[in-house]
Structures are given as C-alpha cells and as structure tokens.
Point group: C2
Chain length 197, copies 2
C-alpha cells in the first residue's frame, strides 16, 4: 500500500475511533462514514481492518523507540537519575504529541493477530528493559532506593502509559507541565529518601 493522503486520513480517523471505542468496537463502516465514503471503498486504500491497526501501532512503537534512543544518546555516561528523567520526558512527549495513536498503541495492540502481536510484545519488553537497566544502575550507585525493579519499572511505565487515558490537548496541563510533574514524581519515587548522611 502506497502512502497517499487518503491513506493518512484513514489512519488518523481510525486512530480517533479506535481511541474512543476500541478496535473491536469500531467497524470498517464507522471509519468510512467519518470519511464520507462507502465502507467497501475503504478497501481501495487498505488491505484489511487489521492492517490499519498494525500501521498505527507499529508507527507509534517506532516513535517511542526513537524517542527513547534519542534520550539514551543524549544522556549516555550520565548518572541514572538524569538518564531516567530523559526517558520519562521522552515518553510523555510521544504521548502528548499524539494521544490518540499513543492510546491505540497502549490499549489495542492485543487485538493484533498472533505474529504482529508477538512482535509488539517483544518490543514492549525491550522498551521496558531500558527502564529496568537505568533503575538497576541507580540502585547500584545508591542513587535509587533498593526497590524491586520489576515492581518499580511497572509502576512507572504504567503511570506513564496511563497518560493516554486522561491527557487532553488544550487542557489545563500542557505537555511541559506534565513532563515536569511526571519526571519529578518518577525520580522521587525511586530516589533514596536519605541520600547523604
């Protein structure tokens, strides 16, 4: 499938509907109706409903990965707290940049067929590993308290992902405020409460 304007419109509209009603709760005709075309006409642009979900999920996964890569590159060699802070800020930026797509990525990837679902599962694990590695380092250096790394990374990552269920563009809290607050909360959660003594 070539990347036409129409194709991009379809993905935008689908992201919005999948975000609101979920993948299974959205029909191909719902998407078509939002574009003022017939349901069957959609198939001139996409191979299947699932292919649209895949396009949204894969692209968004790439954004998260690229943002985390950039954060890691920018903070290489620095202390764990700074590295985690940038990972958190990168994640918040990707979510706020496009909540609908981020929401579909976070919530609807389970609706994919076996193979693509396993691909995403693997990439999510990889992504989580970045957080775990930084937390591990922080515990090793004494910057972070000796918490259970699985629980801590799950706590922080699900909090970050939870942003998709409450962030509203144009709301009182913009991306900058949320990034600051979330970076502070995540770091404070991990930081050893009695650092120097």
């Amino acid at each position: 499938m070539v990347e036409t304007t129409r194709r991009r419109e379809i993905e935008a509209v689908a992201s919005s509907l999948f975000h609101e009603r979920g993948y299974a709760g959205t029909s191909v005709r719902d998407i078509a109706r939002a574009l003022d075309i017939q349901g069957a006409s959609l198939y001139a642009h996409v191979a299947s409903k699932e292919e649209v979900l895949w396009a949204i999920v894969d692209r968004t996964a790439i954004r998260f990965e690229a943002a985390a890569d950039a954060a890691a590159a920018a903070t290489a060699g620095r202390d764990p707290a700074s590295r985690l802070e940038q990972l958190v800020r990168a994640h918040v930026a990707v979510v706020t940049e496009d909540v609908q797509r981020a929401s579909v990525f976070v919530r609807e990837w389970r609706s994919l067929a076996r193979e693509p679902r396993m691909d995403i599962a693997r990439r999510r694990d990889e992504y989580e590993r970045r957080f775990r590695a930084v937390i591990d380092d922080g515990i090793a250096t004494g910057a972070f308290a000796a918490v259970d790394v699985t629980a801590a990374s799950a706590f922080i990552l699900t909090a970050l992902n939870g942003l998709v269920s409450w962030y509203r563009p144009g709301g009182r809290l913009g991306e900058a405020e949320i990034a600051d607050a979330y970076a502070h909360l995540a770091l404070a959660a991990l930081r050893d409460s009695v650092p120097e003594r």
Copy 2:
C-alpha cells in the same frame, strides 16, 4: 435476575474472556461455549450481554469503594502519608484479589451504555477525589512536596490501575510484595525530599 450458581459462573467466565479479549471482542457465544451451553441458553440467566458487563463493573466498583472506605475509617485523623499508604494498599488488595474483574472494571467500563457509563464515571471521579484530598492535605502539612495535585493523583492512580495489566496470580511477586513496593513508591513519589531541615 436472581443470583444462582449458574449466574455466578457466567460472570466469572465473562470476566475472564472480557479480560483477555475485551468486551467488544467477546461474543455471547464465546461465553456460552466456555460453559458448554448454547448461545441462546445464556438468555435464560441474563437479560443482555451488557447486563453481564454491568454486573462485573458495578460489583468491582463497590469493592474498590468499600476497600477505600475501610482504609479511610482505619486511618481517620492520622497523617496524610499513613492515609495514602492505606488507600494504596486497599487498591492493590482489590486488584490482586480478582485481577480479571478488576481488569474489566478498569478497561471496559467505557463499553457501557450512556447511563451506566456516566454512573461509573461519576464514581471514578469520587474515588479519585479521595486520593486528591489526601494529597492536598499532605501538601498543606508539608509532608508532601508541592506537586500539581491532578498530575500526582493521575500518576499514582494509573500506576495502581496498571497492575491489572501485569499482575499474575502465583507469579514471583505476590500481593504482599506488590503492596509494599507500591506503597513505598507512591509515598516516595509524593514525599518532600527534604522533610526536616
């Protein structure tokens, strides 16, 4: 609808399927098949598919509310940190006690029709308000850092709810370990990093 054994079995099976595939992704026949009866036979026990979702969601909402009530009652008059700790522990307990139902409550309440959905939305707001109130108090007393209360309560509550997507009964981390870790993380996230000086 009277509460028969069959009725309870239906809700248990439906919780499991809704947890795995979502409400919209689960058919009435899927539920019936898991019970070894015909799809139409389900209607001898339930009025509609949505009524089953409502039963699960409403009961689970009641559990969260009751657990928070008990936590609040047990810590009335105490310091904000202790009160928040017990709210966190209560939440973790309800999730781990029945992940499937908790997961359906957290993820699928949006699939309800307008009226029940608004009822749940209202009760979720009410529930969040308990967290906000304690956080507000903690900031007022100086026990907590002066974070944005909306961001902080959303961060913590979505982290708590995120447990439904990774908790596995019988896994390495049991309810006690998770409750300890999550209570620590939530309190540390809020605590003023330089309390006495």
